[in-house]
Symmetry: C2
């Protein structure tokens, strides 16, 4: 099924997920609306994960946390987090054991859901600002890398940061910083610019997640903290159980991108 | 004992508290360094309070959360939160039962400490920006009011927001907004400007906390979210037990005010 950009609103897209009609990535859908990463953990790990996010706001910008057992977020009225994303991953003891389109059968009243900002919001602002993004033009996933940057640990949660990389023309780098710095709720300004080795990245052509994207001679690689970090941390920390969205298959909320500007 | 502005560093001030030599307010001490509100709750309430702060970042801007039992924050190396503030309040079931200078005898391994931003940081920026603050010039406490603005509840925590009020000349209002908006970690921009009735405040001359401060004809009252909110919420929510700083007796940290600019 092919969906046209901006043709469907957030509630319609969530309904397509719920009925199983949409199982693909959500990039480019409901343009202008905030999409979020999802992390669901048992109540016994909720304080640790909330603390981890508080200590690591760049990779884990919290947009909303639901009370245990609640699956209808404020940012998406009428939604059901168990069915309204195109795809989910189940992790057990740090290992991804299943990928599926509906997690109703896994739901328990002790599960706590976290919604985290995602780079789709600031990518939209960059493109609107006249800064092209190659992975979007080439319809690829953004390139993501594990780094040598340790997150601040919290309780039983620990691990290194994952970053996403976008090549930006040298003359656009400062403006790309300015534009994305306006959106701290969706990862904010780049963490690092122009020196992959400083993050422990040996070969840009071999990302750990997503697709490789070429960096041209007049471009620098810009690295942003990435929302895949919590999944990597769940793996490293061997979290007994958690559920996340599948790669690129986000929750589409009713929030406008502008609403993530600083309060 | 009279202390000169800027004459002592943060570690020296904390040491004076620890020995009992300093029992007064910390306003004006260690100029340029971040001071914080303190809230200590039992582990069984830590998730609720952390969630309350995540949902209400304007009154409850979290600077640091310590693991259960830990009393040495990262932002004040070598400090002991049990002794290094000039004064503390003990609340039991929402009632303030004691005010004292050392909480070592109350300490337990299940207590979780939260450090929250305080307006001293942005007041310093306003004064540096050439905007005078009457309560400072008159050596009064800032005027604070309970409002009709409900905070987002979280678990067992609920209550209305407390705001602080500063009179600002009409021609300085926009700049006061710009300056304080730069500091979201210490309450950020005003919540409300110029219309006390809109917050349910009937008489500016009768603050609920602090001292009354006159508003002149060419001035508007500017209202900022206030760090007293968590204490008021603890009262309203009848929290079984918590410890806070005494009014105006903050933790002086090693962080510079500039470090609270957006990451």
């Amino acid at each position: 099924m092919t969906l046209q950009r901006t043709s469907l609103g957030p509630a319609e897209i969530r309904k397509l997920c719920r009925t199983g009609a949409l199982r693909g990535p959500t990039a480019g859908l409901a343009d202008g609306y905030v999409q979020t990463n999802l992390m669901i953990v048992p109540q016994s790990f909720a304080f640790d994960f909330l603390l981890f996010c508080q200590r690591n706001p760049r990779p884990c910008p919290l947009l909303e946390v639901l009370e245990a057992g609640n699956f209808t977020p404020r940012c998406a009225p009428g939604a059901d987090l168990r069915t309204d994303l195109p795809g989910y991953c189940i992790y057990e003891h740090g290992v991804r054991t299943q990928e599926l389109g509906d997690i109703s059968s896994f739901w328990q009243d002790n599960l706590v859901s976290f919604l985290l900002g995602c780079s789709f919001s600031f990518e939209s602002a960059l493109v609107l600002g006249g800064i092209p993004l190659r992975h979007i033009d080439q319809k690829l996933n953004v390139a993501m890398y594990k780094t040598n940057l340790a997150c601040y640990p919290a309780g039983r949660m620990r691990g290194n940061m994952v970053v996403s990389m976008r090549p930006i023309k040298a003359g656009d780098v400062a403006r790309a910083v300015e534009i994305t710095a306006r959106f701290p709720q969706v990862h904010g300004a780049p963490l690092h610019i122009g020196y992959p080795a400083g993050l422990g990245i040996e070969d840009l052509a071999k990302p750990d997640f997503g697709d490789p994207v070429r960096v041209l001679e007049d471009e620098l690689p810009l690295f942003w903290a990435c929302g895949v970090t919590p999944q990597y941390v769940a793996e490293i920390s061997r979290l007994p159980f958690c559920i996340t969205q599948s790669a690129g298959k986000m929750l589409v909320t009713d929030l406008k991108n502008e609403s993530t500007l600083p309060a």
